[in-house]
């Protein structure tokens, strides 16, 4: 009687295990399917010119398609725009986010910190399209035009909560002995933060920054309201500018350019995956 019962339980265990494994495998399917699709369709587009030349005009693209050739040109205007806007957004989001994160970690019991922390959560959950439209009203309208600046502001608002959170979390897991040891040497508070705690937290903050960048790099909606797009490579920050996700949207809307969608998508996907994997690797290395 007892033996049968145990056998029965073992069987149930096994069944459960198989089911859980199957389900886990299933979750990997969408990612692999997307990767495969984008890789197969986009891989043909990759060439040196694809990364160094701006988007072709519809006419040129049409001619090439008619002649059965690859569409000339590429996404360099988008890459440059993405880098400029990410750079400007990080330039402000990093110092402000890190300072804010330190403040939250050090004063977690204060009411003000609690409110700021709550707002950070709300900001993190705000749909990006809303951030886009608000930035439009705040920046594009007063500046009387779309610009890289406006795009950067939108990305800045999206990156800020991510950097605040990762800084706060990293600072909170630092042992308090570190801070005490610094202060016991007569260090003043700011110096202990900057010379002892921040360097120790560097790994976590760096990882957080990579993840923040990889989260906002694919954002399209907020850039539609702010950066608009541009078909030439442009370095001015007060003019409309392109970005890789914006290009994907443009290609989709222009029947002549549709072949370029996959190359641009593959580039974006590989970039984000690389950032993510690097962040994970570094996090592992720094945690050990």
């Amino acid at each position: 009687m007892k033996k049968i019962y145990i056998k029965h339980r073992l069987l149930k265990d096994k069944l459960l295990f198989v089911m859980v494994s199957l389900l886990s495998a299933l979750t990997a399917v969408p990612l692999l399917a997307i990767l495969g699709e984008v890789l197969i369709k986009g891989y043909d587009q990759f060439s040196w010119a694809f990364f160094t030349e701006p988007t072709p005009t519809a006419y040129k693209a049409m001619k090439a398609v008619a002649a059965g050739e690859l569409i000339p040109g590429g996404i360099a205007n988008g890459i440059v725009g993405t880098l400029i806007m990410l750079g400007m957004a990080s330039l402000f989001a990093l110092p402000i986010g890190i300072m804010c994160g330190i403040y939250l970690a050090e004063n977690s019991k204060k009411k003000f910190a609690y409110i700021v922390s709550y707002i950070t959560d709300l900001l993190q959950g705000t749909p990006s399209v809303i951030i886009g439209i608000v930035t439009y009203i705040w920046v594009v309208v007063p500046m009387k035009g779309y610009s890289a600046i406006a795009g950067s502001v939108a990305l800045f608002i999206m990156m800020l909560p991510l950097i605040i959170r990762s800084t706060e979390e990293t600072m909170k897991i630092l042992p308090s002995s570190l801070k005490e040891a610094g202060l016991a040497l007569g260090g003043n508070y700011m110096r202990v933060v900057t010379k002892v705690q921040l360097p120790a937290a560097f790994g976590g903050i760096f990882t957080g920054t990579l993840l923040a960048i990889s989260r906002v790099i694919g954002e399209t909606a907020p850039l539609m309201f702010t950066a608009l797009g541009c078909s030439i490579i442009r370095w001015d920050i007060d003019k409309p500018i392109s970005a890789v996700p914006l290009l994907i949207w443009e290609f989709f809307n222009d029947p002549n350019l549709q072949d370029l969608i996959w190359g641009a998508s593959l580039f974006l996907l590989v970039f984000v995956l690389t950032l993510n994997l690097t962040a994970k690797k570094l996090a592992k290395k720094w945690n050990s």
Binding site: S177, E180, A184, L185, N188, R191, V192, K195, P199
Partner: protein
């Protein structure tokens, strides 16, 4: 115990973590200059709490309350700037805590860096060499000064932390069970070191190891439930304790 010119004086010091209870109750004691004073007592009796009051560590936590006075060379530390107090009263913690992102060299100089004091390169080298020599670590690490402090063994790390505290030339060195995380050989090493160091600095050391207290300290305190029960010459206390509780503790019948 009375001394002519004590370096440190506790006067009715009370510390409480919560409103209801006091972790240290009305402790009064004078510490003789250039001596080693051991603080003993069962776990939770308030040894660390008393020690941390002396370099204003409790200031970091707003809900901890300290009452009474602590005098450093006659001057009330509660009226001095905490940074000043902590530079003159150094501390070594139970777990060796070299700064993980700094090299051995930088760790020794951390006190200066954290105080914003700029030294010339030759001054730096002199400080590093002298301090590491005074904790007899120089020969072991002089070729790897640029390695991270966390590469060293536990005992070496603790000596590095002592060197780091000594670099600022403190008058008093507080040590909270500095050898409890170390093996016996490393502990012995530190004990010998402390005996050498006391000619320059007054040492206040919390220890659970009665043998250690007996070997190195000149005076001993016995604390129980937050009170200072007995404070006397170490030999006198070990041979002829005055209080029953001290006796029970020293003979292993308590704690």
């Amino acid at each position: 115990m009375e001394f002519v010119k004590p370096v440190l004086e506790f006067d009715k010091v009370c510390v409480s973590y919560t409103k209801q209870t006091m972790a240290v109750k009305y402790v009064s004691a004078a510490i003789e200059r250039n001596s080693i004073t051991a603080i003993m007592g069962p776990s939770g009796c308030g040894k660390s709490t008393l020690l941390r009051a002396a370099n204003l560590m409790h200031n970091l936590y707003p809900n901890i309350h300290v009452n009474g006075d602590i005098l450093l060379n006659g001057e009330n530390i509660f009226q001095m700037h905490p940074i000043d107090v902590r530079r003159r009263i150094g501390m070594v913690f139970q777990r060796p805590a070299p700064f993980p992102t700094m090299s051995i060299y930088e760790n020794v100089l951390a006190g200066f860096t954290l105080n914003g004091i700029n030294l010339s390169k030759s001054e730096k080298e002199e400080v590093v060499e002298n301090c590491l020599k005074s904790v007899s670590l120089w020969n072991e690490v002089k070729d790897v000064l640029n390695k991270k402090g966390t590469f060293l063994s536990g005992g070496q790390q603790q000596r590095l932390c002592i060197a780091r505290a000594l670099a600022l030339k403190p008058e008093v060195l507080l040590m909270d069970e500095p050898t409890s995380a170390l093996d016996p050989i490393a502990s012995k090493h530190i004990e010998e070191l402390l005996l050498q160091l006391k000619k320059d600095v007054t040492i206040l050391i919390v220890t659970h190891n009665m043998g250690q207290a007996r070997r190195i300290s000149d005076h001993s305190m016995f604390m129980y439930l937050g009170e200072l029960v007995e404070y006397d010459n170490t030999l006198k206390m070990f041979e002829n304790p005055f209080d029953e509780r001290t006796k029970a503790y020293l003979t292993g019948k308590m704690g």
